[in-house]
């Protein structure tokens, strides 16, 4: 995967049919179009062949996902400025669009706020009549995102990218109050977004996606960290639970992780959806 790079503004996206047999590395403006590709192959395309956007024709709301992808290739900064807008109404104009879809948001500066955030999201889900199993999944991904933002992001060494693996169990972590993280939930008729933004921009994108792939390849038990710090499978849980994952890093400034889950679908149909994946490095 490349580091930060500038896209030629004159370039438009190029759509390439991809499969488990795809072997060629591509430029950042290329969209991989797949059909029924399993998650580990989606991750292979991202980590080994440099596809920044992989979307699946039989995945969740393919047409909407493609529209978002086209916009993000042309203007990747939009994901950081208006993530809800970029995903839910990519071709609409106006900053108020974010508010139209937003159903809960919370800034946080401390690890002790996790319960507050999850309770807020739980209340929002109850109001929308979300099924218990979907609510459990939303809570799970929100929990993992919050924990990553609070316990990982502030402690990654900028030079070495080494994660200090701060203990989750006996440390209270507090951010600089002037640079809060934020979590938000948004939804349209068919999708719910759970997202987390931290103000550090320290996520190693290649490492993040490679770690998820390693868990698919070797299993959760084999990749779990039984020492201090995180368990090492939270990002896998987020991707495994989601129908679409967006990961954006503006180095030193912000990391946003956003996932989409389908509304009004049975668990079975949700589990059968092949996944979309997007990563943006600025």
């Amino acid at each position: 995967m490349n580091g930060a790079r500038k896209l030629d503004p004159k370039l438009r996206s190029e759509q390439i049919e991809v499969s488990a047999q795809s072997k060629d590395r591509v430029a950042p403006h290329c969209i991989g179009l797949a059909n029924g590709l399993p998650p580990e192959q989606v991750l292979r395309l991202a980590t080994e062949l440099n596809y920044t956007h992989i979307i699946q024709k039989d995945g969740l709301d393919y047409a909407k996902e493609l529209a978002t992808t086209e916009v993000l290739i042309e203007s990747p900064a939009r994901f950081f400025d208006f993530p809800v807008h970029a995903v839910f109404a990519p071709t609409d104009q106006g900053p108020a669009i974010d508010q139209k879809f937003l159903i809960a948001k919370k800034e946080f500066t401390s690890s002790v706020q996790k319960r507050e955030v999850l309770d807020l999201f739980g209340g929002a889900m109850n109001q929308r009549g979300v099924s218990q199993t979907l609510a459990n999944d939303i809570t799970l991904v929100a929990d993992e995102m919050f924990t990553n933002a609070v316990f990982n992001a502030p402690f990654v060494d900028k030079a070495t990218h080494h994660n200090a693996n701060v203990s989750r169990t006996d440390v209270e972590v507090n951010f600089d109050k002037s640079r809060p993280g934020r979590m938000f939930m948004a939804a349209d008729d068919t999708r719910v977004m759970v997202a987390c933004e931290d103000p550090y921009g320290s996520l190693n994108l290649n490492g993040y996606l490679s770690k998820i792939k390693a868990t698919y390849d070797r299993g959760a038990a084999a990749t779990m960290n039984f020492g201090s710090g995180g368990a090492g499978i939270g990002s896998y849980i987020i991707f495994n639970t989601s129908a679409s994952l967006f990961v954006g890093v503006k180095a030193g400034r912000a990391t946003i992780i956003a996932c989409l889950l389908p509304l009004a679908l049975s668990n079975k149909k949700r589990s059968l959806l092949p996944k979309h994946l997007h990563w943006i490095q600025l």
């Binding site: 084999a222 368990a231 079975k268 059968l272």
Partner: protein, 157 residues
């Protein structure tokens, strides 16, 4: 909900009732099992489990002496998902007494959790699912899992 472990006797089985969120705030002190040789973990009241909780859970169940006959009962879907996802979530030889299976009605969009009991709805890895499950409005509901994935843990037991 805050994590806690309650204890009660069910005939000659010590039942540990696990309640609340299994996460980094859960206090996983090894339980006092006394002289019990049969221990059942009642998991119905587990409300959530995250990745750190999975890890701490695995470390906790490993403290159970190997002489204990361990079983789990009333496992919610969030626990079944972890049993299937993480090898070693339950120690080898753990008996599955019962677990919940989600059912869904397309027409109403409602879901219901049905308890599958060992010797009734399943025996070993063989399933004897109910002939009919209906929602509150009388609509027929379907088992809402991919069977090969959800019941995989029964084959591994």
């Amino acid at each position: 909900m805050a994590f806690s472990v309650g204890k009660r006797m069910d005939q000659n089985t010590l039942v540990l009732e696990v309640n609340g969120n299994v996460d980094e705030d859960a206090n996983f002190t090894p339980p006092d099992l006394g002289s019990s040789t049969n221990v059942a973990l009642d998991l119905e009241a587990v409300t959530a489990i995250n990745s750190v909780g999975i890890r701490e859970w695995i470390k906790w169940v490993k403290t159970m002496p190997s002489s204990i006959q361990l079983s789990v009962r009333r496992c919610p879907k969030i626990i079944v998902d972890q049993i299937n996802m993480v090898a070693g979530f339950l120690p080898a030889g753990t008996t599955i007494e019962s677990f919940y299976v989600p059912y869904y009605a397309d027409a109403s969009g409602t879901e219901k959790m049905v308890l599958f009991k060992n010797g009734v709805e399943f025996k070993g890895s063989e399933l004897f699912a109910p002939d009919s499950v209906k929602d509150d409005g009388g609509e027929e509901m379907e088992m809402d899992v991919i069977e090969a994935k959800y019941f995989k843990f029964l084959k591994n037991g």
